[in-house]
């Protein structure tokens, strides 16, 4: 019994103690667990926070990466495509195609300008359908110092194609201080229209005074020096030295046969108006044997007038342009006026006459002007009006020879009224309808032209 009780007590005690022991261990474990839980909870929260942060920054990075990718994609094609505009190193090439239909009341071969001995390309050209003046131009910067340009002109004369080297010059780029030097064959800066190619003119034919004095245009071989003043108002001074081997000089082959001096001034008035005023002078002393076409004698003998002596031309030009808000693309207006005066002193010989050769002393006094206005009234449409007037008072020892040479004005001062309507489908093409009432000589001629002028290849320059 005792034994059983003892056992019971022992077991009870044991049990109890083990119980006590067990419960304290659970508590510790529980506490530990709590602690761990807390710790982990904090850690997890920290992790979660970090994850959130990471996600956010990943999104940001992603955005930035996307932006960069766009930029990269864009710039991969960048520099290769940058301003290499003209076939890498090939010169800029442009081609002008020109053709027309012309109708005249009078025979164009009877054309004359009394008081002016016509030379060079002066004349009316063919009637009916014909191709006009086609041009091939190449130009480029040669290096950092020079620019070069060449223009070949193709004309049809009596069924034969004539090729003419119209321009071939180099020009400095890097002289600085406003100086520019040009050398080779080029259009003289006399007057305003003379520096422009015929296809850039606003009418199908040259003003009468250009026809009378230069045979349409003054081109010569030589050098040109211009200086641009460092002022806000445009002021340019220049001079040209020419060989003087081409009309209206001619004959002199050695040294400087002709020279010019010119001054241009110009600017803007407000934003819509701009203007330019020019004075120029051309001079050739000691001209030898300048040939020109004489007065036609039906199918008579071929006598050619030849002038020797001194010649000087003075010119005044004025250009005014208007464009609403200074934007000429939709609407613009242009007025231009040029006046020329030529004084000559020498003698005229009729080559192929005689013997003895017919000859006379010659004191020439010729002048003339034109005024024209062109109005672009819609983006693709333009109208123009022009008036030409010439006069001459030439004297000589033998009036008959003067008359034969075409230098007598026959009591007539040449005049011409012109009107045009142009359609400009784009900057590169033009269709022109032009009417002239031409009173160059006694019999008034009514002339009609329908002309196309197209420009292919490199973009042309927007000259003032």
């Amino acid at each position: 019994m005792h034994k059983i009780l003892l056992m019971a007590v022992i077991t009870a005690a044991l049990f109890h103690s083990s119980l006590v022991f067990a419960s304290s261990e659970t508590e510790a474990i529980q506490q530990q667990l709590e602690a761990i839980k807390k710790e982990y909870g904090q850690a997890i929260k920290a992790l979660e926070d970090r994850l959130l942060k990471a996600e956010k920054s990943a999104q940001l990075a992603n955005n930035q990466a996307q932006k960069l990718a766009v930029q990269l994609e864009q710039s991969s094609s960048a520099r290769t495509s940058s301003s290499s505009t003209q076939n890498s190193f090939n010169p800029a090439i442009s081609l002008i195609l020109d053709g027309r239909f012309a109708s005249f009341d009078n025979n164009p071969e009877d054309y004359e300008l009394p008081g002016f001995a016509l030379g060079n390309e002066a004349g009316l050209r063919e009637k009916g359908l014909s191709i006009g003046h086609s041009e091939l131009t190449m130009s480029a910067n040669i290096d950092d110092q020079f620019f070069g340009k060449m223009t070949l002109a193709f004309d049809e004369h009596d069924g034969e194609t004539e090729t003419e080297l119209e321009e071939a010059f180099i020009q400095t780029l890097g002289l600085g201080h406003g100086f520019t030097l040009k050398a080779g064959r080029f259009f003289s800066e006399i007057g305003y229209l003379n520096q422009q190619h015929g296809h850039a003119w606003d009418f199908a034919d040259a003003p009468l005074i250009y026809r009378g004095l230069f045979g349409d245009q003054l081109i010569d071989d030589g050098v040109q020096m211009t200086w641009l003043a460092p002022t806000d108002t445009f002021l340019q001074l220049g001079t040209e030295l020419f060989s003087g081997s081409r009309f209206p000089a001619g004959g002199t082959t050695s040294g400087i046969g002709a020279w010019t001096a010119f001054a241009d001034i110009g600017g803007d008035i407000g934003i819509e108006h701009s203007w330019q005023l020019g004075l120029s002078h051309w001079r050739s002393d000691n001209i030898q044997d300048r040939k020109s076409g004489g007065h036609a004698h039906g199918d008579g003998e071929a006598e050619t007038p030849s002038f020797s002596g001194d010649s000087k031309i003075s010119a005044l030009d004025l250009v005014y342009k208007w464009a609403p808000k200074g934007n000429p693309n939709h609407q613009n207006f242009k007025f231009q006026f040029e006046y020329f005066d030529r004084q000559e002193d020498g003698n005229v010989v009729m080559l192929g006459s005689g013997p003895p050769l017919e000859t006379t002393s010659y004191d020439g006094d010729q002048k003339g002007w034109y005024a024209q206005a062109v109005y672009k009234f819609k983006p693709q449409w333009q109208v123009g009006l022009r008036y030409d007037w010439l006069d001459s008072d030439n004297r000589g020892s033998d009036a008959d020879v003067l008359t034969e040479a075409g230098l007598d004005n026959e009591g007539h001062s040449p005049k011409r009224y012109s009107a045009t309507l142009e359609w400009l489908p784009s900057e590169f093409s033009r269709l022109r309808l032009q009417y002239n009432q031409d009173e160059s000589y006694e019999e008034t001629d009514h002339q009609l032209f329908l002309q196309y002028t197209m420009s292919l290849g490199s973009h042309g320059a927007h000259q003032f």
Binding site: T233, K325, S426, E427, A461, H462
Partner: protein
Amino acid sequence: MIRHQWKNTYCFALLLLTLCSNTAYAQLSIFACEPEWAALTRALAGDTARVYSATTAQQDPHHIQARPSLIAKVRRADMLVCTGAELEVGWLPLLLRKSGNAKIQAGQAGYFMATDHVSLLEKPAVLDRSLGDIHAAGNPHIHLDPHRVQQVAEALASTLTTIDPINKNNYRGNLQRFTLEWREAISQWEKQSEKLRGKRIVVSHNNWIYLERWLGLERLAVLEPRPGIPPSSQYLAKVLAQLEQNPADMILHASYQNDKPALWLAQKTGLPVVGLDFSPANNNSLIQWFDGVLNQLLRAES
């Protein structure tokens, strides 16, 4: 509001700086072809340069003539800042040849063309004028993308430094300031213009590509059948029929462009017409101009 306050502070700081540093050195004379580059140059050069803009926002930069006044300005310029990519091909080469000025000829440090420093979109695969007056190098109207303007600003600041190393710190400081303001402005514009994203537009001339990409606008039609060729009434009728099938949200044109086709189409469709200044107006900053452009677009949208 905060931006403007900042700007005032900057202006004041700039004023102090220039007052202090206003020594006797000569100012640079800079010829900018378009008002946007004039504005950018003014921001980067501050008082160290006199900036002249050859064109205004009312002039189409494709169709400028080499006027005597422009030749006179180029004669005296120390630097050119132009768009390039043939935008000025009709007049800039002529100005350069007539200027007698060695400093700004192509290849010189003073010859800065913005499009040389960014990538261009819409580089044509085929070069043929039957496609209109296209630009071989790509669409040159990059100033409508502020991110590209930032790239140009960086290149321009470094060119200014090359030309005028004495004022290096000035250009660096101005660039930093500009960049800061510009970034802030861009993020604001991008927030503002969220609701323009996906809007469908009709444009007069295809010169909005960079704005379209930036704002996420979708171009449905161009009123010119080919770049530089005005639309015929037949062509407009075709565009109208197309829009009836697939309606747009607005019509966009630059204020220097002929607005008649756009107005005609607006009358037929009832769409709002937005005539945007294609460049900043006289002496406006780029930020003011972009603010104006976005405001006009947002007004048309609402």
